[in-house]
């Protein structure tokens, strides 16, 4: 027992002496007295009860309208952070009080249990439930068959959303990966300042889609005549060129491209960083050999660099296609999607579910998104199983 309390913090000595091994575990008492078992049982029940009672009180405080915001926030953070540690510690203690025979068989489930419970309640159950709700009416009660799916494939706004999303899924990855690859290749040739240049491209990745949408609204800003001066950058340039200002975000269908620019701006840095790492991992000798053989820089790029990093390009592109499929914040924050013809699927889903309160249609649109990622899901699982097989 003494060894348990004082384990070596780092690498233990490679060969523990036999004496050490011998003193480790004094044989535990075979059978506990009955009252000990009863006490254990009471502890087993009492700890969660007290815990729940305490948490209930705290959460009532957190819901208190009049409480000082700063204190509420601090209490919330402490409860959240300490709570999770106490949870695992408490569960481990409970397992230690279980009878010896079943203790070690039980412990793994204490370790994976919280994760499995959360994933079941928040992911697996919802997937089943959403599929069921997609066959129900607005309130999610009455069965309506495939009516919601009929709706999403006939409604004009929904069809536009599907077309627009398809555009996002093709154009954004294509442009972002191309610029990212070009920039990574160019920056690789800089003698100095490569890291700084890359940080600057990468910077938009750290901010929110909402923040980016505001940022670009300032670029696209437009005011009609007699409604003040045009302070948007693009219209400033138009005026500088002697042209009339343009209501950029209402130019259908080109306004979709202008919104895509925002996502390209945010995600190019990601493509660039990953591709740059892949380019740097190509051995210098290969590139040198090609140059000595008289290959031009363009040939080196096309015949050596690109073919070598194709697997990385595939992974990055897949990631971006999935991201583009789920794009929501940009369109939502810019607003007036329906009026401007800039709807996308994820934005329609929230609109139907949250604003129009039609659970069935919202769920059906979510199912549409889900079906679109199923191939990637299968691919991920298959790749994982192959990896495990070779391990």
């Amino acid at each position: 027992m003494t060894v348990k309390q004082e384990p070596p913090p780092r690498l233990p000595p490679p060969d523990p002496t036999p004496t050490q091994a011998l003193v480790v575990d004094p044989p535990p008492p075979r059978r506990d007295a009955v009252w000990v078992s009863v006490l254990r049982l009471i502890g087993l029940i009492a700890i969660p009860v007290v815990g729940f009672f305490f948490l209930g009180t705290v959460f009532d405080f957190l819901k208190d309208e009049n409480a000082n915001r700063g204190i509420v926030v601090i209490v919330a953070i402490v409860v959240g952070v300490v709570g999770i540690i106490v949870l695992f510690w408490g569960m481990n203690e409970l397992v230690n009080r279980l009878p010896e025979r079943i203790r070690e068989g039980f412990r793994p489930y204490v370790f994976v249990g919280p994760a499995l419970v959360l994933l079941s309640v928040f992911m697996i159950y919802p997937v089943i439930n959403t599929i069921l709700v997609s066959t129900k009416d607005a309130s999610g009660e009455t069965f309506v068959g495939l009516d919601n799916f009929k709706f999403i494939f006939t409604d004009e706004s929904m069809l536009r959303a599907i077309r627009n999303t398809a555009g996002w899924m093709i154009i954004v990855p294509l442009v972002a990966v191309s610029i990212g690859l070009a920039f990574a290749t160019l920056a690789d040739r800089l003698r100095r300042g490569e890291a700084i240049a890359k940080s600057m491209i990468f910077l938009p990745m750290a901010i929110s889609f909402a923040g980016a949408a505001v940022t670009w609204q300032l670029v696209y800003a437009y005011r009609p005549e007699a409604f003040g001066s045009n302070i948007g950058l693009l219209n400033g340039i138009m005026l500088g060129l002697g042209q009339d200002p343009v209501p950029w975000l209402q130019q259908q269908p080109w306004n979709n491209l202008l919104l895509m620019v925002i996502m390209v701006w945010m995600q190019t840095g990601f493509a660039m960083v990953v591709l740059s790492a892949a380019i740097k991992s190509i051995p210098d000798e290969i590139i040198e050999a090609a140059r000595i053989d008289g290959a031009t820089e363009l040939q080196v790029f096309r015949r050596i660099i690109v073919p070598t990093i194709v697997p990385t390009i595939v992974v990055v592109t897949t990631y971006m296609v999935i991201n583009a499929l789920k794009v929501f914040d940009i369109v939502f924050v810019i607003g007036s999607a329906e009026a401007n013809g800039t709807e996308v699927i994820a934005e329609r889903m929230l609109d139907w579910f949250f604003i129009s309160n039609h659970d069935g249609r919202g769920a059906a649109i979510a199912v549409l998104l889900f079906v679109a990622v199923v191939p990637v899901m299968i691919w991920n699982v298959r790749r994982f199983r192959e990896q495990e097989a070779t391990r």
């Binding site: 370790f111 003040g228 914040d329």
Partner: protein, 318 residues
């Protein structure tokens, strides 16, 4: 994710790239073109942010009448600049409270999934139990499930409990609009990636360490606390930063589970609300936008290499 370890913005082997640039056969005449091209792209990328930053420090009357670029003509004129916008945004527009709410959401929503995932990842790597393989395959499958699939059922779960095939299987917890509700949602959405990444890392630790700790009599909990957690700091940090920024920048989950009431709204919600009602108040909007960007940018610049590692690894997140 084989690209994970190698991808770091700031940690490039300087000497190596320098050697490549100056080596035999390198066309030096191209270097000017390269430099100008790189500079042009960088400037193009920075202009939108620069516009927001400059606008946020200009007085309302100037913001409303002239473009932000005109401020560059006479940058040293004191009347050009003000902090008033930030004062207004923080107080009357409620962004100070929104900032606190964002912290209250983001910090636990980072710590909770990491703790849960680390324990699970340890069990998946180093403990024997029935269903281990199939459970982990399920985690891999969940990696790309769009969280839109979860919104409707979880919202109903929070407000009226769960009914599956006409049977009440989960009680009504009244979690809607509470911090606990959004922590749990963010935790669950972040878990598949966290478990996947941490298992890759924890599973690759040498088994001799764990074996010898067992011989010394350490139980699983002690091994986890004293060995696994300290050894996994790089992976934990990478995921922590990724998850923190993800939660901090999230609009969708906060919009659905916290809503837009003044009491609980987070920065992204407050910002979106400001666009909706006062789209023309650029002085306020830009200051607010920068308040929301401040912390992520700070995290980004101070912890860049971890951040990139987490993000690159996050390429599979759903």
């Amino acid at each position: 994710m084989s690209t994970t370890e190698a991808a770091e913005v700031g940690a490039l082997p300087k000497a190596e790239s320098g050697a490549r640039a100056g080596s035999v056969g390198e066309p030096t005449k191209g270097s000017w073109v390269v430099r100008i091209a790189v500079l042009a792209i960088v400037i193009l990328w920075l202009i939108p942010t620069a516009g927001v930053l400059i606008t946020s420090f200009r007085p309302e009357i100037l913001v409303d009448t002239t473009g932000w670029w005109t401020a560059l003509a006479k940058p040293f004129q004191a009347a050009q600049w003000t902090l008033e916008n930030y004062r207004l945004a923080l107080t009357s527009a409620g962004f100070a409270d929104a900032f606190l709410n964002s912290l209250a959401v983001a910090i636990p929503a980072t710590v909770i999934p990491i703790s849960i995932a680390a324990f699970a990842a340890y069990a998946f790597s180093w403990m024997e139990f029935r269903g281990r393989y199939i459970m982990f395959v399920a985690v891999v499958g969940l990696l790309v499930v769009p969280l839109q699939m979860a919104l409707i059922p979880i919202l109903r779960l929070y407000s009226q409990g769960a009914v599956l095939f006409d049977r009440q299987i989960f009680p009504d917890l009244d979690l809607n609009g509470t911090f606990l509700g959004i922590w749990l949602a963010h935790t669950a959405f972040g878990l598949p990636l966290a478990i996947y990444l941490l298992r890759n890392y924890i599973g690759s630790l040498p088994s001799s360490i764990i074996e010898s700790a067992k011989i010394d009599g350490a139980d699983h909990f002690t091994i986890f606390r004293r060995l696994i957690v300290p050894l996994s700091v790089p992976a934990l940090a990478a995921f922590a930063i990724f998850q923190f920024l993800w939660v901090w920048n999230d609009l969708l989950v906060a919009y659905v589970f916290l809503g837009g009431t003044a009491r609980t709204k987070v920065l992204t919600i407050a910002l979106a609300g400001l666009v909706g009602q006062q789209g023309e108040n650029w002085h306020l909007l830009t200051a607010a936008a920068f308040i929301s960007m401040g912390l992520p940018l700070l995290v980004f610049f101070s912890l860049q290499r971890y951040f990139v590692r987490g993000l690159t690894a996050g390429a599979v997140k759903g």
